[in-house]
Amino acid sequence: MNAPRLKERLVALIVLAALLFSPPLLLIADRSPATSVWLVVYLFLAWGVVIALMAWLMERRHEE
């Protein structure tokens, strides 16, 4: 993968993370009737996904 694509992917990930951690999506998670601890579960899940994606982006390029 070439560097420009990595940059674009990183920017996309940053935007995704910012969206996941901010109110519009957060409010949806908060209002979810499924379980009262859903907001906390959602936060940790989103966080984990963001970290996993970042790890994938960063470590994948080692062979270059």
Binding site: A17, A18, P23, L26, L43, M54, M58
Partner: protein
């Protein structure tokens, strides 16, 4: 009730262990086998972000405000996602400019301004003091809880004399420890490898300790997470705590806190120290950018379960900040609380070590040294004395910083819980963000703008967060917060300009950053930059520019001797030798002028110890003339970017040129080929025409010259002449056909016709002429085969194919088979013979003009007429004109060659 001495021994033992690790790290660094040359150690050292505040305070905050404690860690996660852009640039700049602290960074960016550096150092000192106080409080409280449990901890600091206060002694012990730890020697680059190793170790200790309590809580006090959460769901109070309603300020407060944590992570002096100054390899950021967020996630995973468990099981007396200790104590555990205490101690000491070292560096380099250098009070009688001066200043600074922390703790500490104190410091550190971040990307930001903006932001921070803290401790009249000072309502600290209903941090952050950014941008737009500022601004904003930093910027005049004396005086002889070793010049003696590169190196070396502003002053003292060639640096930057652009365009152009010339070359090649073919063709045509012409002429001459020829002979000769003339005219006809075909002037008259009928007709025509005993069989499958074609031309093709097949069939038993069949919506007419066939690589060449297959046994000898070598090329041309194909393949039945003509079927009528 725990034995106080055991706790003390454990605590001191732990500190001693840290010291050993740090000493080991420093020794390894001196040997060149660095302990911290690993991205994992780097990521762990960044985890100094998790202080006692995380360790004890997160649980407290979760118990009070639900999931909002997570924001303190989500902000840094976002910042680390940007590490490949943002922090990498900071690291690059810091290593190029030998930056020693965030104050140095900002001062260097704005023209190595010592006043700006001093301002940053002062703000940091005031802003971070509460944070240090918080660590002291955490250590004292956790110790008290551990020793006094189950009695409630009564902290009445103000009532006691300070020597009876444990926090005071904790501060003093830690000061001694940090002085031993961090200022044992003065490193030219301000890197503390041993410290980083110890910090990384501490990060592991606090993680293990915290996870142990978490696992103990979830799996021993409860039967796993499901059990715990079932009990939580059963309690409406706890359920409410899990939702966004519990977050102060709601959704707005959420965003405010996220921004606060994001900016503070980048600007807190200790974070800047570990992230930027202590970074040994830019590539470590790659791993750290996800490993550090992962660390945060793991250490926070069990915060909510512990908080919930504390609320479910805890007794009313215990403070939520102490749940991590009281839960195992309550369960009667002996070892676990001690481990927790050590974990909390490691979190607190880690932060205090890095923070005080960073602050003391700022105080010595940005506050004290510039003053000493300016006032001329610094008398360095012997060489290399500066190092001991600096160390002394830093040691005093460390002591003062910790005492300041203690003072804040003693005066204000009780008013806030742990997390609240930490956030006050976060908001202070955020005031560096505009000058730092905008300065890195906007060349126009200038010193005045940065200074005014930062001052205004700091004042608003103090008004909205720091002073209310004092007020809440009863230092001011109670009405100050509710009615505003002197009853002025719009000055109320928590509702400035009447902005009410926000949580205090978002409120403070909004106003202070608004003023900070607004003034920074406004002043920068309307005031001028000095020349040095312009240079530094360019160097900072263009830091990622390749091969920028190698350029030598010094133009002023000085001698090697003066430079050597200056470095000797401030850095000692060994450091001086190192600097001069970079520019070895055997011939030069000390009266020779110093090359610009050497001057630049000397300034860098000084900046590494003293900060850029002081280094600047010192170098100026020996360099005469315009020290820095501003014109050239700006033009270097502009030309490099211009050159890059020009290069890019040139490259594009040359690529285009290369492509065009390639096309031209191909076209030329093609033309040559065509020319060669034409020559060949002319030669062949002449040859082919000459053969019959020669025989006609020969026989005609014989007839003319020999009157006495017998009639029989004469007729035979005339026959030959006629036959050769026919051959000649046929040849000319064919050549004309070919010429028409190739020039596209061949006129065909396509019409609907039945190929089957046409094939039969052609066979009859061939059979009429056939006199060589060729066995010609015909298989026509379809009853009719309608195609669009010119009947005369198609017949010509078919006859040509049959002729050819007859010629090349086996000599003894010549057989030819013609077949016509339908193939999808095409008709295929194939003519095969039982001759020797055509080799694979010859198959396309039979369609070349004048190509004749060489027959070893000489077909001519058996009276077969020679072909002109034009029949197949013409046939292919005609078939192609009619939208069909003509090719050769292996004969499936007779084993010789098989010529196949394929024509598309006519559309249905």
């Amino acid at each position: 009730m725990r034995d106080g001495s055991v706790v003390l021994i454990a605590a001191f033992g732990y500190l001693a262990l840290l010291f050993v690790i740090a000493a080991w790290g420093d020794r390894r660094a001196a040997q060149g086998r660095s302990l911290i040359g690993s991205p994992t150690v780097y990521a762990l050292s960044i985890a100094v972000y998790c202080t006692a505040w995380t360790f004890y305070g997160s649980v407290g905050r979760a118990a009070q405000y639900g999931p909002s404690f997570l924001l303190i860690y989500l902000g840094p996660t976002l910042a680390m996602l940007m590490a490949p852009f943002l922090i990498r640039k900071m690291v690059r700049i810091a290593s190029a400019q030998r930056i020693t602290s965030i104050a140095d960074f900002i001062s260097a960016r704005y023209g190595k301004s010592s006043s700006l550096g001093a301002l940053v150092a002062l703000i940091a000192l005031v802003g971070i003091t509460p944070y240090i106080a918080l660590q002291l409080k955490a250590i004292t409280v956790s110790h008290a809880v551990l020793v006094n449990y189950p009695q409630a901890v009564e902290m009445r600091l103000a009532d006691e004399s300070f020597w009876a206060d444990k926090s005071f002694w904790v501060a003093l012990v830690l000061a001694a420890f940090i002085i031993l730890f961090g200022t044992r020697h003065l490193d030219a680059s301000e890197r503390h490898e041993g410290m980083v190793a110890a910090i990384a170790f501490e990060s592991l200790v606090k993680l293990v300790a915290f996870l142990s309590v978490g696992v103990f809580t979830v799996f021993v006090l409860f039967n796993g997470p499901t059990d715990l959460f079932d009990q939580v769901v059963a309690s409406p109070d706890l359920t409410r705590l899990m939702s966004l309603d519990a977050v102060p300020g709601g959704a707005l407060g959420w965003v405010g806190m996220l921004v606060l944590a994001f900016l503070a992570f980048l600007t807190l002096p200790r974070q800047f120290q570990v992230l930027v100054v202590e970074n040994v390899d830019e590539r470590h950021l790659k791993r750290a950018s996800w490993l550090f967020p992962l660390y945060l996630l793991v250490i926070n995973l069990l915060v909510i379960p512990i908080a919930m468990a504390g609320l479910l099981l805890g007794d009313v007396n215990s403070d939520p900040d102490s749940f991590v200790l009281t839960l195992p104590l309550q369960a009667g555990q002996a070892g676990l609380p001690l481990l927790v205490f050590i974990g909390g101690l490691s979190a607190a000491t880690g932060m205090m070590i890095v923070e005080t070292i960073a602050l003391s560096t700022m105080v010595s380099n940005q506050l004290v040294m510039p003053l000493l250098l300016r006032s001329g009070h610094l008398h360095l009688s012997t060489r290399g004395q500066l190092a001991s001066w600096l160390l002394r200043i830093r040691r005093v600074a460390i002591l003062l910083i910790l005492m300041l922390g203690y003072l804040y703790h003693a005066l204000v500490g009780d008013a806030y819980s742990l997390v609240t104190i930490g956030l006050v410091s976060f908001a202070a550190a955020c005031q560096f963000a505009p000058a730092l971040l905008i300065g890195m990307y906007w060349r126009g930001a200038n010193r005045l703008g940065a200074g005014v903006g930062m001052s205004a932001g700091f004042l608003i921070w103090a008004w909205t967060l720091l002073i209310p803290g004092f007020a809440q401790s009863g230092w001011m009249e109670a009405g100050f917060l509710d009615q505003g000072p002197w009853g002025i309502a719009w000055l109320r600290p928590y509702a400035l300009f009447g902005l009410e209903g926000w949580d205090i941090y978002t409120h403070s952050l909004m106003w202070s950053l608004l003023a900070n950014v607004g003034l920074l941008v406004g002043f920068s737009l309307f005031t001028r930059q000095s020349t040095l500022e312009q240079t530094q601004a360019a160097l900072f904003t263009e830091a990622m520019h390749p091969d920028l930093m190698q350029t030598s910027l010094w133009q002023g005049q000085t001698t090697r001797g003066e430079l050597r004396a200056l470095l000797d005086r401030y850095l000692g002889s060994s450091a001086t030798a190192r600097v001069f070793a970079t520019h070895p010049d055997e011939a030069a003696d000390d009266s020779q002028p110093a090359p610009p590169g050497l001057t630049a190196r000397a300034e860098q070396a000084l900046a590494g110890s003293l900060g850029s502003a002081s280094a600047r002053v010192l170098i100026d003292s020996v360099v005469r003339g315009e020290a820095l060639d501003l014109e050239s640096i700006l033009s270097i930057l502009d030309t490099t970017s211009e050159t890059l652009e020009v290069n890019r365009r040139l490259e594009q152009k040359s690529n285009e040129l290369a492509r065009t010339s390639e096309q031209l070359r191909a076209a030329n090649e093609r033309l040559r080929e065509l020319d060669r073919l034409k020559d060949e063709f002319v030669a062949m045509v002449s040859h082919e025409l000459r053969t019959p012409l020669t025989s006609i002429r020969a026989f005609a001459e014989i007839l003319r010259d020999s009157d006495d020829l017998p009639d029989e002979k004469r007729r035979h000769f005339l026959d030959v002449v006629v036959r050769e003339s026919q051959r000649l005219s046929r040849l000319i006809e064919e050549i004309l056909d070919l010429a028409r075909l190739e020039s596209g002037r061949l006129t065909l008259e396509p019409q609907r016709l039945d190929l089957a009928a046409l094939a039969r007709h052609s066979v009859d025509a061939v059979r009429l002429e056939e006199n060589r005993g060729v066995n010609l069989s015909v298989e026509i499958t379809p009853a009719s085969a309608d195609v669009i074609g010119d009947p005369d031309r198609l017949e010509q093709v078919i006859i040509n194919l049959l002729d050819n097949a007859g010629k090349f069939a086996d000599d003894d038993d010549p057989q030819v088979l013609m077949r016509l069949e339908r193939y999808k919506d095409h008709y295929r007419l194939s003519v095969e013979d039982n001759g020797t066939g055509i080799a694979e690589d010859e198959r396309e060449r039979v369609f070349e003009k004048f190509h004749q297959i060489q027959r070893q046994d000489g077909g001519e000898a058996r009276g077969r007429p020679r072909g002109s070598g034009l029949g197949l090329p013409i046939s292919r041309g005609i078939v192609a004109h009619l939208g069909g194909r003509l090719w050769v393949e292996q004969a499936p039945r007779l084993g010789g060659a098989c010529l196949v003509m394929e024509l598309p079927g006519a559309p249905e009528q």
